[in-house]
């Protein structure tokens, strides 16, 4: 396949970026999108240029590092896939492909296609955990009866890999799908109950502080989510936050 690639180049966080056009020939349809990017970087390096910086790690759809906005969609045209799981057979010979970084105030560009997603880490640090006694007398989790349906739902929420495609896809750059998945994975289980109310308040507060936009229920996040996290998570968080806010003493 022969492709025309339009790639966002930006030297640093403060630098002004622009789209660079590259012609790439001999791309195999069996390559993953990241392998195609490796091939492009190889070509750039051989010509004496600066390779394109992009995030990637596991290349099997579980780490959430790869983060490209391809032809107007997070992780490209595929559904339920990360960029590393997207293959070049999804494109046609002669296609022009636009490749951009996630764009959000809360995800500043570091260089080219890499963005700083530590806002997500700070949201998790604000409350996305359960406090357990680690004195050696920790209760065996399997000893607590949990309805199968709840366990499955909690597991579905927990499959969120924190890639940020929800923020990237949302026209408001809202992080509601991510935060609600991280709230839900505990809200659905008995272990999550003691901190259920403080958790949702702290995480929503942090989300707002990071400068993400507001949810307008367009549903783009759930469509683009590589893990199929659905909008019922957001509804659950809306519900939990309301009840926590009404009940809280402050």
């Amino acid at each position: 396949m022969n492709l025309t690639l339009k790639v966002w180049r930006q030297n640093g966080p403060e630098a002004k970026g622009h789209m660079d056009t590259h012609a790439l020939e001999g791309v195999s349809p069996d390559m993953s999108f990241l392998e195609m990017m490796d091939m492009l970087n190889d070509q750039i390096i051989r010509a004496g240029g600066e390779p394109i910086a992009f995030d990637h790690d596991c290349r099997e759809g579980i780490c959430g590092m790869c983060s490209m906005f391809i032809n107007g969609e997070a992780h490209g045209p595929g559904r339920g896939v990360t960029t590393c799981q997207l293959h070049m057979r999804s494109f046609k010979d002669g296609d022009t492909i636009a490749i951009e970084p996630w764009r959000a105030k809360a995800f500043p560009v570091i260089k080219d296609l890499t963005v700083d997603r530590s806002a997500f880490d700070r949201i998790i640090q604000a409350g996305g955990y359960i406090s357990v006694n680690t004195s050696g007398k920790t209760m065996d989790a399997n000893a607590i009866p949990i309805p199968k349906q709840d366990a499955d739902e909690a597991f579905s929420s927990a499959t969120c890999i924190g890639c940020g495609a929800c923020v990237a896809s949302c026209k408001n750059a809202s992080a509601m799908l991510f935060v609600s998945a991280k709230v839900s994975q505990f809200a659905l289980l008995p272990q999550g109950q003691p901190e259920r109310e403080t958790r949702v308040q702290r995480m929503v507060d942090q989300m707002d502080k990071e400068g993400f936009g507001n949810c307008t229920n367009t549903g783009a996040c759930a469509v683009e989510c590589p893990k199929g996290i659905d909008l019922s998570n957001i509804a659950r968080m809306n519900r939990d936050f309301m009840s926590a806010s009404v009940k809280s003493k402050k």
Binding site: R103, A104, N217, T218, S232, A235, N238
Partner: protein
Amino acid sequence: MSNSGILRSSLAKKYVMALSGLFLCLFLLGHLVGNLQLFIPGEEGQQAFNEYAHFMTTFPLVKLLSYLTYAAVLFHVVDGIALTLQNRKARPTGYVKEKGSANASWSSRNMGILGTIILVFLVSHMQNFWYMMHFGPIDFDSDGLKDLHAVVMRFFGPENGLAGLAVAGYVLAQFALGFHLIHGFQSAFQSLGLRHSKYSPLIERAGLLFGIVVPALFASIPVYLFYIQL
């Protein structure tokens, strides 16, 4: 616990949007039922409509409801603008290529524009009818009631040189309202956390029905009044 407090949180803004929006849906139903009396022909229709208009502007409980409606409109508009501004700030640099249609409905992506069309319509609508009813100039019918029926008939009749344009504007605004409702109705339930695998499909269908039938009936009135006076 909460540092910023519920009222300043992004979620609370959505609760306000949802509650005011759902209240305004109820208002639309009430307003529609009243307006449908314009289909009653002759003097009987005139009498019924004027009595209704008189009741709506004088009965204390309805007056209270009307103040609630003004408040709901105000909250919905101000909150909507605040949310939109915040959302714009959340993405200072836009995408060079963005395919919004791939993952979200058109109406859900254009609520601000649709809302603005509705607001512009609302201002002109209130000037044409609400203002006339409250501050005139307005004639009285044979029962001594303010003749709002005549104001409406004149507005969509041959006496108004721009009646055709008024009808077109009215119909356009109802299209905007329809799309606004198709997304907004079910979105309000989602914002309030009312989502359930059993009931949400019903809510979505009800929203679609509401968003099509209510604006269609509203739009049919000026079209009918214009047509019978041709």
